[in-house]
Assembly symmetry: C2
Homo-oligomer: 462 residues x 2
Amino acid sequence: MLTYDLSARGSTPRYEYLYRCLRRDILSGALASGARLPSKRALAEHLGVSVITVEAAYSQLVAEGCVESRPRRGYFVLARAMPGGFEPEPAASRPQPVWRLDLRSNRVDAALFPSGVWAKLTRRVLAENPDALLEGAPHEGLPELREAIAAYLRGYKGMAVSARQIVVGAGAEFLYLMLAQLFSGAAFALENPGYPKIRLAYSASGALCLPVELDAQGVNPGSLRRSGAGVLHISPAHQYPTGLVTPLPRRQELLRWAESTGGYIVEDDYDSELSYAPRPLPTLSSIDGAGRVIYVNTFSQTISPAIRIGYLVLPERLLDEWERRLGFYSCAVPSLEQHVLARFISGGGYERHLARLRKISRERRDSVLAAFAASPFAGRIEIAEPGAGLHFLMRVRTNQSDDALRSRAAELGLRLGFLSDYAFDARRVEQHTLVINCAGLDSERLKEAVSLLGRVLEDEIA
Amino acid sequence: MLTYDLSARGSTPRYEYLYRCLRRDILSGALASGARLPSKRALAEHLGVSVITVEAAYSQLVAEGCVESRPRRGYFVLARAMPGGFEPEPAASRPQPVWRLDLRSNRVDAALFPSGVWAKLTRRVLAENPDALLEGAPHEGLPELREAIAAYLRGYKGMAVSARQIVVGAGAEFLYLMLAQLFSGAAFALENPGYPKIRLAYSASGALCLPVELDAQGVNPGSLRRSGAGVLHISPAHQYPTGLVTPLPRRQELLRWAESTGGYIVEDDYDSELSYAPRPLPTLSSIDGAGRVIYVNTFSQTISPAIRIGYLVLPERLLDEWERRLGFYSCAVPSLEQHVLARFISGGGYERHLARLRKISRERRDSVLAAFAASPFAGRIEIAEPGAGLHFLMRVRTNQSDDALRSRAAELGLRLGFLSDYAFDARRVEQHTLVINCAGLDSERLKEAVSLLGRVLEDEIA
């Protein structure tokens, strides 16, 4: 059995120390590729720590790709990933599958974007301001764009922000990397289940990622406190994939956690623009009196994945620290796109586009719910969390595993997403819960979706 | 005196263990902000390690902004930088200076870029392929652009690369972050002196950065081996700021280091496009038979800082590993720019632009050297390393410190760069050596440069 002296950990948290010990032994080869790690319970008993401690350490190793979790078999060491020893497998051709229909992707339907308006603005910027091509932007983004974003947030979301708090970056993922660097050394608490890219980006940056459990109101404060994390990353407006909306009292409780521990909250508002709730709740950022919230949002979700522009709203207290530690980075968004987007927002084009997008999204979602309710499989499904947003959970009564359903769907060219895909540990999440994304389901594709889903669910009766 | 038990470090290198101990105590507050650290020699003796070990640990803390090196006074702890304790200073307004003339910036003169051609190509892409705005690119970049870059490297640099080895990213800094993640856990050996942003980007990603000394042929293999690094980042074609060109035998020696240790070399070819040497040496990447070299280059340097597009050439052996670990990132370069750049390269516009840029760069540089030789201060300067490229070193005979010269120049609106600005430890680099960048010196600005430099150097005689 693995033995580490946890009393030598100094002020390092137990899980982090254990994780570092395991990682060192994997990277050095002391734990060979393919070796099976002890079960969480066994190692916890052996070391005299809690199962949660072992789980946090294992989760981080899984997230970093050092260890693999195999359902019902346990945890296994993967090939070492460090220079000085790492020898990857020879390259094999792995063709990407082409899906007939993708219910897993949460990308907005790019066909809805007014590309003509954007192209016209681009031509206009080129004609009126040819230097836009050549002038580098300040590292935090073009002043015009930061002002346009701040005005949008003030007018549309009631956030009292100024342009100097805005940092423009090349998409949300890039900004996650910057936050990992700003808070280097801190452990990040992430929603479990949650959006996998968030965990991948923080983990790839070397941050320790800790799962926190959700209850009916969102992140559970007890689970958060027990995690010992310094930074919490959440999507209180519309959690992915559960669809949970965090009510105001819970938001205030999370803010109190940040204040009392000196922690920070990253509020990821990735799809609030598409929410059609009658009265959206105030953002955490706007009720944060103590400067503990960093707000993050992206235009890739509402405009097009081809235009990767995201932004942060930093609290005043972090402006100097950001400048001092990350001010050396150049702004990675081309100046041309920044000029065009600034005009698109300040000219009202963005709000018009969002209004149309919300209307169509709501219609699509209503059509999907109606079509599923009228389908042959209506009696075997239950729609959960049908709140505002473009995705919902659908529980299926079935005697098959998620993997069997997924494979059968894939044979038909249908890509399905399951709640278990979004969990730190798939084995601890309920099976048979699909995450249905409506974004791409126009009327034609919806018909196909009902037909294909019907075949997947039928099959398993036989 | 600080006491750490280095025998508890397991397989962690001494410098890394010491660095982690110090960092932990700084972040926890055990070492208070403002505290003076022991001298390197004293701590080395106390702990029974070499001065190099302490120096590597201190350098990393300085690079991360946890510790400050004050000339002739020593090393001091800076404010803590971690959530759960970190309280930054209140924001102060720090206006950026506006320079009358900047001899430190190595940015190419953007006015030389054919912005009309680029704008025309942009309009053409928008007209012929309006979907270019909407279609997201694969995470490694658009196939057209990767093919165009590969063809350029084959034709122009004689590199036998295929499009599948190319990864397009939002500028070189972004690609450094990706490399830090690909090689997470490895220590990075960096040229000392060298380009500060490279160290800042790797350090901010949590990588341990180790200085390796340069001799007349570039990176010293002995210093490299002693560093114990897993990855070496170098610019063999034209080192910044020394201007050193690494000759072929040394290149081969560095490749042997990588092969024998299982390490990797990041070959940063940032300004080889502007080299006007008659016969450029083959890149490390093209003489690397073992797949240990990652080639990196950028268009921000040759086109405009407003267009942040860089690329890597990965060796075949790393393609799968890259895909597996970093394939989740979206390509952060807008598809429109990728289409335009692909046409600019494959249509020959890029090569025509480079040819013109090289001619003008050479003329500017020759004019600068001639003007300095004919200046009143000609007798007090010595030009070093006048090889190919846009910058050179200039040694000045003076009785003033670099800081005094820098302040006096700043009063006149002249920004100067010194060799000591680029060193891990400024105290160990020779004083009075300026790094002169010619990129922006057209004939008018050159006259001003001579006049202002004359005043700076005159002053100090008095």
